[in-house]
């Protein structure tokens, strides 16, 4: 690293040694020409996201609840139809 005049880090040998440890591996990626809005939308939709059901999958009760939820939903809808039409 280049030393500058009145460098506030000049006397901070330990800090500089720590900062020097932080190397970045630069991946190989090309320059892109102008991106269209469609490209941006596809990139956004294709980016990995957090699974909203992950917390449920981690516990036995959560998995059981996930399995039973569709049955409960169907039963609820059936009862609702009975109440409306009969």
């Amino acid at each position: 690293m280049k030393h500058k005049q009145q460098d506030p880090l000049e006397k901070e040998r330990f800090l500089r040694s720590k900062l020097d440890e932080y190397h970045v591996d630069v991946p190989d990626f090309p320059m892109k020409s102008e991106k269209t809005k469609g490209d941006r939308l596809i990139a956004f939709l294709a980016s990995p996201t957090e699974n909203p059901l992950e917390k449920l999958i981690l516990t036995v009760n959560g998995v059981t609840m996930l399995k039973l939820a569709p049955i409960g939903l169907v039963m609820g809808l059936t009862i609702l139809q009975f109440l409306i039409f009969f």
Binding site: K4, K11, E12, H23, V26, M31, E34
Partner: protein, 178 residues
């Protein structure tokens, strides 16, 4: 100095229509821009996107750059910094409305000792972090950092000073020589 003059010459050539000059600028600046963005965000994909977007912006507004107004390196860093701040703000807003829609941050851990400095830099307030990174890793003078971040020179000096103290406190090492 010679490298800086070369960057400016390449930009002038690109403004005159030389497409190869743009490729040369890209290969000269890509690593430096990516390193700054990655150290700031610790997000590989976001850093790649911003480097690419910076060059898209450069292409869109190639005639706005005037060598008389400043060097090319701080000009590109300024574009990248603005894009990064906007993207991070947008991501923050998105996260508050739809927590599960925010892309997962991919960070790689190489060594335990690097973790310490990475974490310490990550824990710095964003405004101090940008200054420490630009000053130490990119050899930029405080005047150019002020231009990139669009803040007064005095603010750069004080944030650099506070950033160094904060970093030392976070690392908690032996600073007897300081």
């Amino acid at each position: 100095m010679a490298r800086e003059r070369r960057e400016e010459e390449l930009m002038t050539a690109y403004q005159a229509g030389d497409r190869d000059a743009l490729d040369a600028i890209y290969w000269l600046m890509k690593d430096s821009l990516y390193s700054f963005l990655y150290r700031y965000t610790r997000d590989e994909q976001l850093s790649i996107d911003i480097v690419q977007d910076t060059f898209v912006k450069l292409q869109q507004h190639k005639h706005q750059y005037d060598p008389a107004m400043g060097k090319l390196k701080p000009y590109l860093f300024q574009i990248a910094y603005r894009l990064m701040v906007n993207k991070l703000n947008r991501r923050k807003k998105l996260k508050s409305f739809f927590p599960s829609l925010v892309p997962i941050t991919k960070t790689s851990i190489d060594m335990a000792d690097r973790m310490t400095i990475r974490e310490a830099i990550g824990k710095l307030p964003p405004k101090q972090r940008a200054i420490i990174l630009l000053y130490y890793y990119h050899d930029l003078p405080q005047e150019e950092i002020a231009v990139i971040l669009e803040i007064p020179l005095g603010t750069v000096k004080s944030r650099l000073h506070h950033g160094i103290h904060r970093l030392k406190a976070l690392l908690g090492g032996d600073f007897l020589e300081a």
